[in-house]
Every structure is written in structure tokens, then in C-alpha cells.
């Protein structure tokens, strides 16, 4: 398995929110990608947004502007 890094992981209530996030990140040129929700965060299923910790402020700002609500925001090894 590849080496894990500490990342920012944003989870969502719905797939629609995750898609809105991906689209907004592309539009605002915020780096990151969709990943399955890591087990360390939730044993459920679903999509989450994985980004560098350093981009947290930019992501929070962008989500507010784009009207995207997160379920939770975590720092975890991915």
C-alpha cells in the first residue's frame, strides 16, 4: 500500500453535494479530488473531498461562496 499522508477530508450529506464540491473546486481552481470516505471517518459509504491541509482556508472560503454545506471536515491519514 502507498504511504499515507495527513490530509483534509470533507464529507457530505449527499452525492449531489459532493458533485457540487468537485464542480466548484474546478471552477475556483482549488486542488484536490473525490475519494471514498475513509473508514477512519465513517464506516458508511459515500464520496468525500480530499485536499492538502494547507488549502483548508481557501476551501472553507470557497464552500461558503458556492453555498456548499459539509457534513464534517476532518484531518486524517489518507
Amino acid at each position: 500500500m502507498r504511504k499515507k499522508e495527513l490530509k483534509l477530508v470533507v464529507t457530505f450529506h449527499t452525492t449531489a453535494d459532493a458533485m457540487a464540491m468537485e464542480k466548484a473546486c474546478k471552477e475556483y481552481q482549488v486542488p484536490g479530488r473525490i475519494i471514498p470516505v475513509p473508514r477512519a471517518i465513517s464506516a458508511g459509504c459515500g464520496l468525500s473531498w480530499c485536499a492538502d491541509l494547507g488549502d483548508r482556508e481557501q476551501i472553507v472560503d470557497m464552500m461558503r461562496k458556492a453555498g456548499i454545506e459539509e457534513e464534517e471536515m476532518h484531518e486524517c491519514m489518507v
Binding site: H13, T14, T15, D17, E22, A43, C45, L47
Partner: protein, 379 residues
């Protein structure tokens, strides 16, 4: 074959709709059920379709667009998910069975129902609606256009009436979505129900509803959602609250292409073309002896539908003659709008419906006019 049954379904679809469905069927995974490319491509196109529909209906949030199989499913969800025993609901004689049957069922369980009667030419008066409002009234539900007569219903005053009285306003846009401008904010619509396979030019099995933010529709379904697996209840957040099970991703990909087509062609242009064909047909048949036309032709704004009878001929016989002798496809008999037939006095005879698409040609319309003329002479 000359296809004039577009109010049932628009048979001819833009080529890009067909291509999109074929492409989706060879590449698309299950939306929201994984983070592989195939699954994500489905999630992306479905979300983009929500955005396009939200834009088309003047909505405020694409998450309020819910996908269903058709208008009937949407209307069932809206009516059964919002009305309770003891509530009073107002509707009209213009309605399709997709509105009436759920309402009759709810009525048998204690919901109170008022059906506004028809005035001349299959129209109704909003004043009759106003008079029907009581302290128990919770909702007005009505069509945006009659599937039988093509009469267009102006939603804005009804939305205002509902809003002034604190009522929910649910709309059946089966005959108008994709052809007439709809603005849920301006028209004060709480739930807009539409199908994808008529004026929107998408595949059958697609449809949906736009639910105003803040309106909570009880879910009739629960099941897999791709999120919150270990929760025992359906997620409360829209659109997942009202979507359970795998969505019709292949169909929605086609609907996505159809929405692109509508944006490119312009729904105003589509409506103008359809109406031009409808008026051409109407002018061609209205003075033929023995022909009775139903509906309100005193106003220019109407759906591209002309419904008629020839003498006292059985409408099915006329429709069959149109098909076998002229290769013209129409619909006859009852049209799932029983109260409208009662109001028009066509319960026994039924009626022959000619409904037009922007793809029809002037020549096709002229052939249909000539066919009606010849059949009427035989009477």
C-alpha cells in the same frame, strides 16, 4: 408515417439524445456508488442535469431537483407526501388521472377534495378557486396545460392566490416543460412535477420534480442512497431524501443532452414553431362541416394540441382511418382526463387528438388537414 401524437410522447428525439444514451450505456457506472471513473461520470452528469433543470425552471438550488420515472411518480410523491387526512385540497376538471387518482385515493383516507368546474371551452375561472378556499385548505394542485384540449393555464395568478392564502401550490407541467417558460419563483410554485419524454425531448422513464427550499415532502420510498449506509432511516437532505435506489442514469444522460438541445434551439423557438403548426392545422379544419373542435382557441397562447370529432363517428374509428388510409398517428378515445371529457360531453365518443412537435412540417400538417376534410365528407 406522420406522427401527430406528440402530447403522448415526442417520438422523434434529437440525435444527440440518442447518442448520449448509447454512450452512457457503454460507459456509465452507478451514480454515487463508488469512486471509480464510471461511477463518477454518472454522478457528474446527473448533477449537471440537476443544475440545468434548476436553471430551466428558475429554481434557487439544484439539490431541490429530484429525479423520478415520470410526472405520475412526481405527482404521487408530492400529493401523498404533503397531504394528510383532514386537509383540504383544490384542483380542476382539467386534470389528468395522474393528479385525480392519487387525490381520490387520499380522499378515501380523509383528505377533503374540491374540484373546480369548467366554464366555456374547457377553461376554469380562478374566482371559483378563490371561493373554494376554507380554513382547512392546504393545497392547490393544477395542470399547466390540458392534455386533452391544449388549453394553457396561466400559473402566476394561481400561485399568487395560493401564496396569499398560505397554501401549497403543486403544478403538473407534463404538457409544458421544455416548451413554455416556467419560473417557480415568479409563479410561486412549491412543487413542480414534470416528465422528460414529452416537450423536454428526453427518454421515457425520465422525469422529476423541483421542490421549493423549505418545503418538506414526506418520502414514499426508502432504500439505497450511496450515503449514510448504517442509518436506519432515509437521509433527510435533498435530493437524497426523495431518491432511493439506482437512478435512471442512462435516461438522465439522454435528458441531459435534451436539455442542451433545448438551450441551443431555444424553447421560445420550439414553442413558436409548434404553435405555428397547430394554428395552421386549426385554420385548415375549423370550418369543415361536421368537424367539432374542443378547447379555447380565443387565445394565442396554447399547447400545440387540436382535439376534434367528426360528426358522431367513434373517435377510434376516425383515428384508425387516419392511420390506415393516411399513415397519420393520432390518439383517440379517452385521454386519461375523465372530468374534461365529461365537461366537453365526449365521454362516449372520445376525441381525436392531433399534437405537434417542432419537427413536424407544414406539408405533414396539410396532409392531415386534407385527411380530415375527406373523412368528414364521408360522414
Amino acid at each position: 408515417m406522420i406522427y401527430l401524437d406528440n402530447a403522448a410522447t415526442t417520438m422523434r428525439k434529437p440525435q444527440k439524445v440518442i447518442d448520449a444514451v448509447v454512450q452512457a450505456m457503454s460507459s456509465m457506472g452507478n451514480a454515487g456508488r463508488g469512486v471509480n471513473d464510471a461511477s463518477l461520470s454518472a454522478s457528474r452528469i446527473i448533477y449537471d442535469t440537476r443544475e440545468r433543470i434548476c436553471r430551466m425552471v428558475g429554481g434557487t438550488n439544484p439539490r431541490q431537483v429530484v429525479f423520478t420515472c415520470n410526472s405520475t411518480e412526481s405527482l404521487n410523491m408530492a400529493l401523498r407526501g404533503l397531504l394528510n387526512p383532514g386537509d383540504h385540497v383544490i384542483t380542476t376538471m382539467l386534470e389528468h388521472n395522474s393528479v385525480l387518482r392519487p387525490l381520490y385515493d387520499l380522499e378515501s383516507k380523509g383528505t377533503k377534495l374540491t374540484i373546480i368546474g369548467c366554464r366555456e371551452r374547457g377553461t376554469f375561472d380562478i374566482e371559483d378557486m378563490r371561493k373554494a378556499i376554507t380554513s382547512e385548505t392546504k393545497m392547490i394542485v393544477c395542470t399547466n396545460g390540458s392534455n386533452l384540449t391544449g388549453n394553457y393555464v396561466d400559473l402566476k395568478p394561481i400561485g399568487e392566490l395560493a401564496h396569499e392564502n398560505g397554501l401549497l401550490f403543486v403544478v403538473d407541467a407534463s404538457q409544458t416543460a421544455g416548451v413554455f417558460p416556467i419560473d417557480v419563483e415568479e409563479m410561486k410554485i412549491d412543487v413542480l412535477c414534470f416528465t422528460g419524454h414529452k416537450g423536454m425531448l428526453g427518454p421515457q422513464g425520465t422525469g422529476g420534480m423541483y421542490v421549493r427550499e423549505g418545503v418538506s415532502v414526506r418520502s414514499l420510498k426508502a432504500g439505497g442512497t450511496g450515503v449514510q449506509t448504517y442509518s436506519k432511516t432515509q437521509p433527510a437532505q435533498m435530493p437524497t431524501a426523495l431518491e432511493a435506489g439506482t437512478l435512471n442514469g442512462h435516461g438522465i444522460a439522454g435528458l441531459h443532452a435534451a436539455l442542451e438541445y433545448l438551450e441551443e434551439y431555444g424553447i421560445d423557438n420550439i414553442r413558436a414553431r409548434e404553435q405555428k403548426l397547430m394554428w395552421r392545422f386549426y385554420e385548415g379544419v375549423k370550418d369543415i362541416e361536421n368537424v367539432t373542435i374542443y378547447g379555447d382557441f380565443t387565445t394565442k397562447n396554447r399547447c400545440a394540441i387540436v382535439t376534434l370529432n367528426i360528426g358522431d363517428y367513434d373517435s377510434s374509428e376516425v383515428s384508425d382511418a387516419l392511420l390506415t388510409e393516411y399513415s397519420i398517428s393520432t390518439r383517440s378515445g379517452g385521454h386519461c382526463a375523465p372530468l374534461m371529457h365529461e365537461a366537453l360531453g365526449t365521454v362516449e365518443q372520445g376525441a381525436v387528438r392531433f399534437s405537434f412537435s417542432h419537427y413536424n412540417t407544414d406539408e405533414e400538417v396539410d396532409t392531415a388537414i386534407q385527411a380530415v376534410r375527406e373523412l368528414a365528407k364521408e360522414e
